[in-house]
């Protein structure tokens, strides 16, 4: 059972948490400007990395706050926990963030062009 450190409540067992999947999927600011294919990238395509992976969890049986985690999906080792709206600081986290295909996706460019999101 994973031991996850909620930034607000401290370390807890994973069954107190709800998993939110890949982190940093920016919602397009002007979706109407995207083609169906580009929209599908935002909506359905996943990074699903084997290794350091940036993901979202919420402490659903606790403070109900969402936060980000860098976890190695090959070993389940948790490398870093950081708040919503921020970017990872660990070398693994930074590498995983920058290496993600999404950084070049039309959907993300669309999002960045408009309102800032996380």
């Amino acid at each position: 059972m994973l031991h996850i450190t909620c930034p607000w409540c401290g370390p807890r067992d994973d069954n107190e948490f709800h998993y939110g999947g890949e982190a940093h999927i920016l919602r397009p600011a002007a979706p109407e400007k995207l083609s169906d294919a580009e929209w599908a990238e935002y909506l359905f395509l996943k990074q699903n990395a084997k290794g350091p992976f940036l993901e979202r969890w919420s402490h659903s049986a606790g403070c109900r706050q969402w936060f980000n985690v860098v976890r190695n999906t090959a070993t389940d080792e948790i490398i870093e926990v950081y708040p919503m709206g921020e970017l990872p600081k660990s070398p693994e986290g930074i590498k995983a963030y920058e290496g993600n295909w999404r950084r070049q996706s039309a959907a993300e460019k669309n999002a960045k062009a408009g309102v800032s999101g996380t």
Binding site: M1, L2, G20, E32, D36, L43, W66, I78, G85
Partner: protein
Amino acid sequence: MSGQSFRIRDKGRIDRSKPVRFTFDGKSYEGFEGDTLASALIANGVHLIGRSFKYHRPRGILAAGSEEPNALIQLGGGNKSEPNLRATQIEIFDGLEAASQNRWPNLKFDVGAINSVFHRLFPAGFYYKTFMWPASLWLKYEHVIRHAAGLGKAPPDRDPDRYEKVHAHADVLIVGGGPAGLAAALAAGKTGARVILADETADWGGSLLSESDCEIDGKEPARWVEETVAELEAMPEVTLVKRCTITGYYDHNYLTGLERVSDHLGAAPEHTPRQRLWKIRAKRVVLATGALERPLVFTDNDRPGVMLSSAVRTYVNRYGVLPGRKAVIFTNNDDAYRTALALEEAHGRVAAIVDVRASVTGPLADAVRAKGITVYENHGIVSVQGTQKVTGIEVMQLDADGTGVTGTAKSLNCDLIAMSGGWNPTVHLFSQSKGKLTWDPEMAAFIPGTASQALASAGACNGTMGLADGLKEGVKLGAEAAREAGHKGRAPAAPKATEPAQGSLRPLWITPGKARLGRKGKHFVDFQNDVTAADVQLAAREGYRSVEHLKRYTTTGMGTDQGKTSNVNALAILSDVLAAEIPSVGTTTFRPPYTPATIGAYAGRNVGKLFEPIRKTRIDEWARANGAKFEHVGQWMRAWYFPKNGETFRQAIDREVKAVRDSVGILDASTLGKIDIQGPDAAEFLNRIYTNAWLKLGVGRCRYGLMLKEDGMVMDDGVTTCIGESHYHMTTTTGGAANVLSWLEEWHQTEWPDLKVFFSSVTEQWSVVAINGPKSRAVMQKLCNDVDFSADAFPFMAMKEGTVAGIPARLYRISFTGELSFEINVPARYGLALWEALMEAGKEFDITPYGTETMHVLRAEKGFIIVGQETDGTVNPLDLGMDWIVSKKKPDFVGKRSLERESMASPERKQLVGLLTEDPQTVLPEGGHVVEKLKPQPPMVMLGHVTSSYYSPNCGRSIAMALIKGGHARHGQTLHVPLEDKVVKVTVTEPRFFDLEGERIDG
């Protein structure tokens, strides 16, 4: 000693003052407190304990611990009966009933043994090669196979015992209470760290309790154990758990253990569980799980009377029983010589030591020879006499490379063979923790390599075999673990230990027989599953060259012992065939649990009433008292309908449905999800979440809203009301409440954190009663005089606060029936009072309580959808003909872009329509499918399915809604609903059936 003729006078830790009577296969025996079933049977000279899985060969006792593959027992009777227990782990108690398994009619004469006559037809994997023709017969073949397989029997009915769970946190968890574990616990404990020490047996000391030839700090080992345990027990932060097998090593140093709390007492005392499942999160773990002795693979090495050498020593020294009067020791290492000496010391006789090593020297060999025991160097056992108990053996000299034998066979009489093929460190938990194993050629065994979690291995499980070294390692790692867990303090000095020195072993994985392997007698590798060396070679020959293939093809290591005694032998024999290094062939992964763990313990208290809670409203009691029938909705129990004496379901529903439209009905709507939304950006937030516009909703006004997933599909719906400046009250479906709250929080926190808005679930805070029907205004007026109920003052989709029957309330004029209707929200605790007041006030109008079914019929008459009935996650608002609620003006809302995909408006999509059956009395079954072109029999093309279907007394006919392909363009068409027994003709209509102009809303 009443029958215990193999009891040794002056040895053992059993309590001779406490005789214990038990039965085995119906025959009564006596043992002593402190005996295991195995030791007590040996004391009585009983060695035939069970039958093997495949060939039904007679089997005895191989080991003295949890690695036992043979001596499996069905314990007890009735609902407390338990199959497949190891006789070597069962502590006996008065009245214990044990029975052998997998034999018929009895153990001595077992018809199944016929299999070993035809054994040559049953090599490994034979079943993959036959039973194929004719195909139709496989189920018959299989029936026979299934009944031949299996071991013990499940109890007939419910388990009378109770199980509990312990959630524990430790600085240091130490697994194993042998010398290394005790030393580690002491060292860690002295630092003040929170230590948990667990051992799977009933007694502390592990291997020390089996030895008579070593000393610790000048004391008998047992003395040292007592003193150490006493010292540990005096430490407040140290927890000692006996009879607790650590079964699983999971992520982030989370381990599970199974504690057998009262099994050894026969019956659990009151307020005591039978077993406990420990769930331990440890900062550091020290594994001190010891090592398991390997059998030697020689001809007919499975006969009762063939035992592991260390087990023999355990029976002699710990339990004070003689496994045989005349023993032969068969070994490839020095340790077995200690067994010879222990037997001599216990007045047993040792006929000879057969050693595969070319020349044997050293203190142990000298001591043995000094006792006049013959040592056959470079010899092997080539045959075993006796089927139900060993009566003798033949030994021959090994040839140069040990693959054959030379010279002539010498016969020896004996009734016990104590064998030792060396030791396998117990690395199961280390491997479960995802640590990497490495091969140690010295020991010819796998030992822990690089760890991947915060753990260390001490003593024999780390390949550190010597007692002194094991103690030293325990002390060092125990102190280290405590320090890493944040507790200072120096490691105490390690105790001094003396024991006979040992030389090295000769790994000889197969002891050759007189004939070629597989031609005469059987060299067993896996005893429980009857896998022989020949089977392993066959698998390799047929190309099953991966260890996992070998395991799965031959089933070696797949028994209830998970191959504790067989895996390395099998692996070594395989690599011999492949002419490869053992480590390069690999090792199989060890899977939890270490030993089989009770299912009931995993379930714990979450059974029966505590399996999953049921939610009830404050009005639930009243409904029960008034004969309501209930249905499960999500976690809730909801009143389904209120049959009056003798009414059928249909009669009750017809009455309730009519009553609402003719006068007034009352419904407990408390289960609806309710979310209180506040903050300056609340309106903006709703505007992004719902498909329609929310920015201009005035205070005291309600609006219906539809929520989509980002993929454009309908997720939930409900009425949301503006309570005041930046304050809203959202309602959701009963089942969707929790999801919707999470949904709102997720969007807010992860997408729009800049919006100032807050959510709290208030589902439990409000009791909600809905009264519907033309007379509902009159009822309200009787109970509430501070609200003007006229249609102009209190219009549809408005909310007012007032006092109803003296209770402060929020009144919502909303309607799920199309009737004049008020939903009265009061603080939850007043729910029942409000309900009773309304019933009283409504008497003169014959107010009628109704449940979910009537609610469904009423809304269906009006064509209102129910999310989860008209939708299933694949339906969008356009499909439902609800375009009117999808804003064209809003730049964006959740799901908008997905709705704009061409496919979402495709005329081919399944769209919501009404269906009218040709015969108005016929009510379609919900889930029935609609077809256009009827065929005499399936398959036929389906257009879609009936989502809702009822008899509507107000329409005087049946009504139905359906989702069908291109439905919106099919109005007027005649289609068919083919059912198992008949075909129903239907006409497609609008999905609305009653009060089409909506004239009834104001009463």
